[in-house]
């Protein structure tokens, strides 16, 4: 039986991704990598988890294979399956198997979205065995030292409330992400949104305000990502009030009163 060669180069990150370090996360991740420990990244949406992984992969010069988890994700979607090519059955490695074979970094984004029976396949990989059984092939792969598995999830998502099983959880080195500190966030928004420092500063201020509205019914405030997007719109000549409305305010809520209050913040700041 044949297996299909998959191109790994496309997963290799050649240019240094822009990542602003906020603490000791890089040291911790490098040490985890050196010791063959899996990583768990937690934090609100759009706070730089994905970007961090890209940066780490670049720094380690390993390919980064990302899987966005969803509740239909099956074990074969991760491990691999047979396909038919010109009348022949060929085996295609799933992203996880691919990463193990190639000694790449496999990043499972939003792991809680996956069903629990799916997440268990990473168990033997994520402890000191570092093994992946590929049942259909009858193979037991042992991960090379270059391989790393990392997963992310957003503990603030109250609507999902699917939590990780303790047996899954307790295999990881956990790094907690949060929105960057104001000065750093300003720098990121400047860099990524291509805006002037002053504007970035105001955007960050707005974000800070939206992040303190939990009691008023806003579960999660504006993420760094939204600020960047608003910044980008203004670069195309869209007026700042409109940019904030469409890129920050409207995506946050549907509640008319809350929207009005957010709008008042925008008109105060800009």
């Amino acid at each position: 039986m044949k297996t299909v060669e998959q191109r790994l180069e496309e997963h290799l990150i050649t240019a240094e991704p822009y990542y602003l370090v906020s603490g000791t996360e890089i040291e911790i991740a490098l040490s985890a990598y050196k010791n063959g420990l899996p990583l768990l990244l937690k934090g609100p949406t759009g706070c730089g988890k994905t970007r961090f992984m890209q940066y780490l992969a670049w720094k380690l010069q390993r390919p980064l294979i990302t899987v966005s988890c969803h509740d239909d994700l099956s074990t074969s979607d991760l491990v691999g399956r047979y396909l038919i090519r010109s009348g022949e059955a060929v085996w295609i490695d799933g992203p996880l198997t691919l990463a193990v074979r190639a000694g790449a970094i496999c990043y499972l984004d939003e792991i809680v979205e996956a069903r629990k029976d799916t997440t268990v396949v990473i168990h033997p990989l994520a402890d000191d065995r570092r093994e992946l059984p590929v049942e259909k092939l009858g193979e037991l792969l042992t991960a090379p030292p270059e391989f790393m598995i990392s997963v992310s999830y957003n503990p603030g998502y109250q609507s999902v409330l699917k939590d990780l099983k303790p047996s899954t959880r307790q295999r990881f080195v956990a790094i907690s992400f949060d929105y960057p500190l104001p000065d750093q966030e300003v720098e990121i928004v400047c860099q990524e949104g291509g805006v002037e420092k002053e504007l970035a500063h105001s955007l960050v201020k707005l974000a800070g305000m939206t992040r303190s509205l939990k009691e008023s019914g806003l579960a999660e405030g504006a993420s760094t990502r939204l600020l960047i997007q608003a910044g980008k719109l203004t670069q195309d000549g869209i007026d700042i009030h409109t940019a904030c409305r469409v890129a920050i305010i409207e995506p946050l809520s549907d509640d008319p009163e809350l929207l009005a209050a957010l709008q008042e913040m925008v008109s105060s700041i800009f």
Binding site: Y82, V160, S268
Partner: protein, 765 residues
């Protein structure tokens, strides 16, 4: 009314005082001709004003006839209220002046009811200001504008401008400006170098003692407040330029209601002009009073509250005039008043509140310690266990010497407390809370730690005796829940204690009778519910379908190659299957459900259960009742995973009317239970017969708002609440409480057993 009668009435209203006869007659005389109704209303104010100031009371009576030419009787109390406020803030002269001159001015504010009501903008401005302040501030209507640092007070209505857009902007400016004073630290000025410290009692503000030390405190206060208003303006220009730009277009009427002959008034009037104008104006206006470098500091936003305090004596000495009374100059609407006493009170309240939270956190932390360590910490309490709680001296506690100052110093240094030689390190949550406390109040009184130790001691004690109580009551635990207080838009922490109880099992023919009675309906329901047992799912190895089943195809190809007959089941099809629903039924067991309602509720539960068994959805049943926040009760009938057996049936039979309907705690508990459940759809269905109500103050709007909030919390947790209300008619509050389409009312209780499964069916398919 005769003069004698009027005087007599006056005397009786001010007794036991016996004022001079002539004075009384002089002020009462004008009322001889006045009609009795009006007299009555006017005289009603005497007991209000007299105790505050006799002169003011006479003045009121002198001015009232004139005032009533402009004011309606209904407006009179408000006018008096304003006068009293002025008296309390600025003394008799100003209040008298207000009564003499102020009627028209006062009226212009009251008139033209086309103004903008605070109530109508609060929903928008409350989240606004909370976002801006990043703090849970409150908004409360008041006669004057001011803040005590935790609440922002503003007039109930604004009609300074003809246009409500501008009035709205003024509201927005008022709240932002008042927050500005908080953000700029205006209330917390410390003594500048070389200034007297005054006796700085815990909780008292240096600033207040300082301003009170002048011969004319109102003047000193107004000077300081004005300087701070400049700082706030500069701060807001930097922080919220959009707002300040919009505001600069507001046409503030700068009419000068008071005689301008004195220096102080001129000073205030001119700087106020600067507050509504732009920066360059302000510079020119400040120049005559400040040195150039002081001007720079203020206008560049570098000045501190200490700078303002430092300037007060100098400005005071130039503005104070011994021979002339200082008549306070009315502040601009957004400046409001500086009320340092309110600030002190609010901070005390805040400190106690945070202290309580600290005690809870700390006590919880104590209880996580090892028995040995805990005993050690609490050993003093055991020694004199007769008393309840610890006296401060009972615990030998050495606070880390830096403990009180860590806020300013090294943030990274871990907090450490030593109690009875046991070193305690704070877990992160406690630590960050403690730091917040230190930031706010400078130091943490040791009494909070001792009372936490006391609380932990009680907890330990309770834990010890818990076992013996068993059997007497089938209580299976107590859970504490917060309650929503809409008046302050915040939670009352740990307000309700919900006791989890078992319902006794009773043997009775109830279930059998019900099933007999509704035999036909049950069969129909079972059939209907059977039809619902489905949800979408992919099934493999189908003859036809939406997608190719690769595994099957591969197998079939290999089979063909091996010369075996191949299968034609090569497709994947989307199939309806697997309902993934968990639902909790909460049944009102309040007293009002006695009789038919109770029977109908139980019958409905039986039919529901029968149908649910066919359907396979997970469901639980709980009854709720209780009395007061200290004893809310939740009765277990069926847990989510429990099977519908004899015991459950017997418990359903024993559901009966009990006490009151405090809806918040059971809903919150159900939410918590469902949060632990992994299901695609999670539902709470409440069955009740009317309004939430408890024996204590849990009534009316309060109860409705708490229930509504509990339901909101459920929604936030991704749970769908739904309510079935048995009532004769639908009420307005229902939609408010449950939200549109989230409730249904059943007007005929006898129909409930039929309606309930129907409702459930529509809800979940």
């Amino acid at each position: 009314m005769k003069l004698a009668a009027l005087s007599e009435q006056f005397y009786s209203l001010v007794s036991p005082d016996i004022p001079n006869e002539w004075d009384v007659e002089e002020v009462m005389e004008p009322f001889i001709e006045t009609n009795d109704k009006v007299c009555e209303v006017i005289l009603e104010h005497i007991p209000v004003i007299w105790p505050v100031s006799h002169s003011l009371c006479y003045d009121f009576l002198r001015q009232a006839p004139e005032a009533l030419k402009h004011l309606s009787l209904e407006q009179l109390p408000h006018w008096v209220g304003v006068a009293l406020d002025i008296y309390e803030n600025d003394g008799l002269r100003t209040a008298q002046r207000f009564m003499q001159d102020g009627v028209e001015n006062h009226l212009s504010r009251l008139k033209g009811s086309g103004g903008l009501a605070l109530a109508s903008v609060e929903k928008r401005l409350l989240p606004y200001i909370r976002g801006i302040a990043r703090d849970e501030l409150q908004i409360v209507p008041a006669r004057e504008t001011y803040t005590d640092t935790s609440t922002l007070y503003a007039p109930e209505e604004i009609n300074l401008f003809h246009n409500n857009e501008q009035n709205f902007l003024l509201y927005k400016l008022i709240f932002t400006y008042q927050w500005g004073y908080i953000a700029c630290g205006s209330f917390l000025a410390r003594a500048p170098e070389g200034f007297p410290l005054f006796s700085n009692r815990e909780d008292s503000l240096w600033l207040r003692a300082f301003l009170d030390s002048f011969t004319n405190p109102p003047l000193a206060r107004d000077i300081y407040h004005l300087l701070e208003s400049i700082r706030v303006k500069i701060f807001l220009h930097k922080e919220l330029p959009g707002l300040m730009r919009a505001v600069s277009k507001l046409p503030f009427p700068l009419d000068l209601p008071l005689p301008m002959k004195n220096k102080a008034n001129l000073f205030f009037a001119s700087i106020q002009q600067g507050l509504t104008g732009d920066k360059t104006d302000l510079y020119t206006l400040l120049q005559p009073h400040l040195t150039p470098s002081e001007c720079q500091r203020f206008l560049h936003g570098e000045a501190t509250p200490q700078d303002s305090a430092r300037l007060v004596p100098r400005l005071y000495s130039t503005l104070h005039n011994k021979d002339q009374d200082y008549i306070p100059f009315p502040p601009l609407p957004f400046q409001g008043r500086l009320k340092l006493r309110s600030v002190e009170t609010a901070r005390k309240v805040q400190k106690e509140k945070m202290g309580e939270q600290f005690v809870d956190l700390m006590a919880a932390h104590f209880l996580t310690l090892s028995q040995e360590k805990l005993k050690n910490i609490l050993k003093d309490e055991e020694r004199d266990s007769g008393g309840s709680g610890l006296a401060e001296s009972d615990v030998s506690m050495i606070m880390d010497s830096e403990f009180a100052q860590t806020a300013d110093q090294d943030k990274a240094a871990p907090l450490l407390v030593t109690i009875n030689n046991e070193e305690l390190e704070f877990p992160p949550e406690l630590e960050s809370f403690t730091r917040k406390f230190l930031d706010e109040f400078g130091q943490l009184p040791t009494r909070f730690i001792t009372s936490a130790a006391g609380k932990a001691g009680e907890g330990m004690l309770r834990g010890d005796v818990g076992g013996q109580e068993e059997g007497e009551q089938q209580s299976t635990g107590t859970v504490v829940y917060d309650e929503w207080d809409y008046r302050r838009q915040g939670y009352r922490k740990n307000w309700c204690s919900l006791q989890l109880k078992e319902l006794p099992q009773v043997h009775s023919p109830f279930i059998r009778n019900t099933l007999d009675k509704y035999h036909g309906l049950t069969l129909r329901l079972r059939h209907q519910f059977e039809m619902m047992r489905s949800q979408e799912r992919f099934v493999k190895r189908q003859r036809e379908g939406d997608d190719i089943d690769f595994d099957a195809l591969v197998e079939s190809l290999s089979d063909t190659q091996a010369g075996l007959p191949s299968s034609d089941r090569l497709f994947i099809r989307l199939k309806q299957d697997e309902r993934d629903i968990a639902v909790l039924f909460l049944v009102d067991m309040s007293n009002s459900t006695s009789g038919w309602v109770n029977t109908a509720l139980k019958e409905s539960l039986v039919l529901m259960s029968e149908a649910m068994e066919v359907l396979g959805d997970r469901y639980g049943i709980y009854g709720f009742s209780g009395m007061r926040r200290s004893r809310c009760e939740l009765f277990h009938v069926k847990h989510l995973t429990e099977s519908y057996g004899e015991r459950v049936k017997e418990r359903i039979s024993s559901i009966g009317p009990s006490e009151y309907t405090r809806m918040g705690p059971p809903i919150r508990h159900a939410t918590r239970l469902l949060q632990e459940v992994d299901a695609k759809v999670r539902l709470i269905i409440t069955l009740t017969d009317g309004k939430p109500e408890d024996y204590d103050d849990y009534k009316g709007d309060y109860a409705i708002e708490d229930t509504r909030h509990a339901l909101l919390e459920a929604k936030v947790a991704g749970i769908h609440p739904f309510c079935i209300t048995i009532d004769h008619q639908a009420h307005d509050y229902m939609e408010h409480m449950y939200g549109p389409a989230n409730y249904i009312f059943v007007d005929n209780v006898r129909k409930l057993p039929l309606r309930m499964p129907e409702i459930y069916r529509t809800l979940t398919s």
